[in-house]
């Protein structure tokens, strides 16, 4: 084998204690100065392979060679010393610390007994400038947007001397604009001699950014290609083993009566500022209303108001004619509402509990699953087994802990639970974030099916493609207000939508008023 590889992982096998073979004799190698994509279905073993490389996980078999010599990455500490840095799927930052403090955590420069904060700030500035990653060293991390947090993560790795940078699904949480920015930063990094491993489910990104791509499936390597030689369709076929059609086929919506009605809603954010500024709209049975917008323009607070997660400061929300302003979440759910939350780890699942317990969480008190005193284990088992099969959740059994599933499979658990209650109103917040192409196709089709079965759907997504693809009608949020309403989403172009999302264009109040069908 011609050895142009800088880093080579050989015959890596990883079996988790629960018997799942996450990596099976994996050979993976990268060249110096390339951007190398790693793609594969949810649970294919991508994160696991990278965690082994970064010393967070130990493999049972195999070895890692760096420039021809074997290295043993037994802990992140050693991996960092070997010049490997990682930006994780879920951020690894300390919210109450500043950017500069996060940068130096674990490798603090000292002046006498105390931390030399001045040096930390200076170093952060210098590094940020060198790689064109604009961050404010004195800003507290908790107040930063995801896009900036990501930059901090990258800088953190570079500060520790990383030459090989692993990015685990960095774009899953970014807006199109932020993604574009990230790509130019990554290209700059490459130009300066760094090597990047890039994990993503968005194949056009892989095509745009990467030099080579390695495809994983079921813990094995399916092949490595020059991205120039393959199309996204080829890649997804190798990933899933069949052709994937991401275009959703759907008939025109046949909207009926109003399910969700929001009137003059005002919501506060965590900082006590007004994040939703008097918003009114309605969603009808049998239609999907998309809510587009750059992240952080009030969508999160809007969803919290509509689902009862936060108190409403002003205005009213009714579901099927009943006001929910003073209702508990359980009562709101009993009205037939379901919610796919944006942050699945906080609001979506109980990590330490099993898949079965998680899918039961919203229906444990239904007569189908609980008798007068005891639960009905048989019925519960049937339910969880059915859902695992239907949603193709990759697990050893429904009794596996949710925390042990791969990111995408956790999302599937949430979706399976929420869709299994014949909902009247579906609040879907980034429903396909971090999900592979095959499952994305499945979830999108399922949403359309539920619409056809007369559910009302409110879809919030930062993925422009998704909003345009799925929505029947569409509103745009900018700085807490609705700035545009499109009755027919299929007539909107991505460019036009972009102008409204960035606040460059703004419809008249009369045009926007069209989203309120009846007072």
């Amino acid at each position: 084998m011609p050895d142009d590889a800088m880093l080579r992982m050989e015959k890596i096998t990883k079996v988790y204690p629960n018997g799942i073979v996450a990596n099976n004799e994996v050979d993976f190698s990268i060249r110096k100065g390339e951007i190398h994509a790693l793609v594969g279905e949810n649970g294919a073993g991508k994160s696991t392979l990278m965690r082994i490389l970064f010393g967070l996980e130990e493999s049972q078999k195999g070895r890692i060679l760096l420039n021809g010599t074997e290295i043993k990455n037994e802990s992140p500490h050693i991996a960092i010393a070997n010049g490997i840095g990682m930006v994780h799927q879920h951020f690894m930052l300390v919210p109450s610390l500043t950017v500069a403090e996060n940068m130096i955590l674990g490798v603090e420069p000292k002046k006498g007994l105390r931390i030399d904060l001045q040096k930390a700030i200076k170093d952060t500035r210098a590094l940020a400038e060198k790689y064109n990653l604009a961050v404010d060293p004195l800003a507290k991390v908790q107040f930063l947007s995801v896009g900036i947090k990501q930059k901090v993560e990258i800088l953190k790795a570079l500060y520790r001397g990383a030459e090989i940078l692993i990015l685990d699904e960095p774009t899953a949480v970014l807006t199109p604009q932020e993604t574009k920015e990230l790509f130019s930063e990554l290209k700059l990094l490459k130009k300066q001699g760094n090597t990047i491993i890039f994990i993503s489910h968005k194949l056009h990104e892989v095509k745009e950014l990467c030099d080579r791509v390695t495809i994983m499936r079921n813990g094995r390597i399916k092949g490595t290609f020059n991205t120039a030689d393959v199309t996204p369709t080829d890649i997804s076929r190798l990933m899933v083993g069949r052709d994937v059609i991401l275009e959703v086929e759907k008939d025109a919506a046949k909207p009926k009566e109003i399910v969700l009605s929001v009137t003059n809603l005002v919501m506060a954010n965590d900082l006590g500022q007004r994040a939703v500024k008097g918003v009114s709209f309605q969603v009808r049975k049998g239609e999907i209303l998309g809510i587009a917008g750059v992240e952080g323009n009030g969508q999160r607070e809007l969803v919290k108001g509509v689902t009862g997660l936060e108190r409403i400061a002003h205005g009213e929300v009714t579901i099927l004619g009943e006001s929910i302003n003073r209702k508990a979440i359980k009562e709101i759910r009993n009205l037939g509402t379901c919610h796919i939350p944006e942050d699945r780890m906080t609001y979506g699942v109980a990590k330490e509990m099993t898949i079965e317990q998680n899918v039961l969480a919203d229906k444990y008190d239904s007569q189908d699953y609980t008798g007068r005193i005891l639960t009905k284990p048989r019925a519960i088992r049937d339910l969880s087994q059915k859902l695992v099969e239907e949603y193709q959740i990759k697990c050893s059994s429904p009794l596996q802990e949710v925390g042990m599933l791969s990111g995408g499979n956790i999302q599937k658990v949430v979706v399976a639970r929420e869709f299994s209650t014949n909902p009247q109103l579906i609040i879907a917040d980034q429903p396909t974030r971090g999900i592979d192409v095959g499952s994305t196709e499945f979830i999108r089709n399922r949403l359309v099916e539920l619409r056809d079965e007369d559910s009302a759907v409110m879809l919030v997504s930062a993925d422009l493609n998704e909003v345009l693809e799925l929505s029947d009608s569409l509103i745009v949020m900018y700085e807490g207000e609705i700035t545009a309403f499109f009755e027919d989403a299929s007539k909107v172009s991505e460019e036009e939508l972009g102008l409204y999302m960035l606040g460059i264009k703004h419809q008249t109040p009369e045009e926007i008023g069209g989203i309120v069908y009846e007072k």
């Binding site: 967070l56 802990s75 992140p76 500490h77 960092i80 990682m86 994780h88 879920h90 951020f91 690894m92 930052l93 300390v94 919210p95 109450s96 610390l97 403090e101 955590l105 674990g106 490798v107 603090e108 000292k110 007994l113 105390r114 931390i115 953190k156 520790r160 003059n264 005002v266 919501m267 506060a268 006590g272 500022q273 007004r274 500024k277 008097g278 108190r311 400061a313 002003h314 205005g315």
Partner: protein, 317 residues
């Protein structure tokens, strides 16, 4: 009522507030350091008891109050480490392990006291020593302030100094920052190579060490003997003080002072004709009421914020 005011507005009362705040303050700072590392230490009560006895015994044997203090501090640190060993190494629940330590301390100290002093209640048969009181030159000449601030036990001054030391440690030193990081996001700390368990172990050891100053003060300053269960819940009151103080050194100090105030009040009121049982209840009731008011105030603040946000809208439209 007049008697009541006469009690509060005296320099003796001010002096006694500081005197009774001292052990609560040490324990609150001890709670703070472990809490910040993400391991709550509810064994403070037991650690203070153990170290109070340790101080008495060794000051008797060594004929030196300072060596007694030193042994108490060593003992406290070891007990903190023991808790760390149970929790971090043997993986017992930290609350259960601490409850066990508290029970062990309560019974164990009486047992040891009986073995050595031949008494199950009090150590008066031992010639134990106390740590010195310090008169601060110049300050003690100032009216009002002098009598309140001067002439305290050396540990009282050390407790006040510790507030600033703790502030410096937690916010300015690498170890302090690591402790905060571990408590807030252990996975993040792990991913930059900070040993989470190691850091928590160090924090528990420190917690035990700081609490031991409170324990030693109880038997070698506050009074000059050891008696059974003499800490009387101060280790738990301190946990409330730390929570009310928002887990910051300055906040914990202020909250400790508040609880110290009620403790002193209950001592002074015994002079009036108020039933003793009622008076002894005051510090504990104050703790509960304090915590309730604290959460109520937070809620209130949230409600007001919502109303303000909702109202701002109307003039705009």
């Amino acid at each position: 009522m007049k008697d009541f005011l006469q009690i509060i507005f005296t320099t003796q009362f001010g002096y006694s507030v500081l005197r009774v705040t001292t052990p609560i303050l040490f324990a609150a700072l001890a709670a703070l350091v472990s809490d910040r590392a993400g391991v709550i230490n509810i064994a403070l009560e037991g650690i203070m008891l153990i170290t109070a006895l340790t101080g008495v015994l060794f000051s008797t044997w060594f004929h030196s109050a300072w060596l007694g203090l030193l042994m108490a501090v060593i003992m406290g640190t070891l007990t903190g480490m023991l808790l760390g060993y149970f929790h971090l190494k043997l993986k017992t629940n930290v609350i259960l392990a601490a409850v066990a330590l508290n029970l062990l301390a309560s019974g164990g100290t009486i047992f040891v006291l009986y073995l050595i002093a031949g008494d199950k209640g009090i150590s008066s048969s031992l010639a134990s020593l106390t740590l010195p009181k310090i008169t601060i030159p110049l300050l003690d000449k100032i009216p009002v302030l002098g009598p309140i601030l001067s002439g305290h036990n050396v540990l009282t001054y050390f407790a006040l100094l510790s507030v600033f030391l703790m502030h410096y440690f937690i916010y300015k030193t690498p170890m302090g920052m690591r402790i905060r990081a571990v408590g807030e996001n252990p996975e993040a700390a792990d991913s930059v190579g900070i040993g989470v368990k190691k850091t928590q172990f160090i924090a528990l050891a420190m917690s035990g060490m700081i609490a031991s100053f409170g324990g030693a003060y109880m038997s070698m300053g506050y009074v000059s003997w050891f008696s059974r269960d003499m800490t009387a819940g101060r280790g738990f009151i301190a946990l409330a003080a730390e929570a009310m103080g928002g887990a910051t050194p300055i906040g914990s100090f202020l909250a400790s002072l508040l609880f110290g105030f009620f403790d002193a009040l209950s001592n002074s009121l015994q002079l009036l004709r108020v039933p003793a049982e009622f008076v002894q209840m005051i510090p504990y009731v104050a703790t509960v009421v304090g915590l309730v008011l604290y959460t109520a105030a937070k809620r209130n603040q949230y409600q007001r914020m919502l109303i303000k946000i909702g109202r701002q809208l109307e003039p705009e439209k």
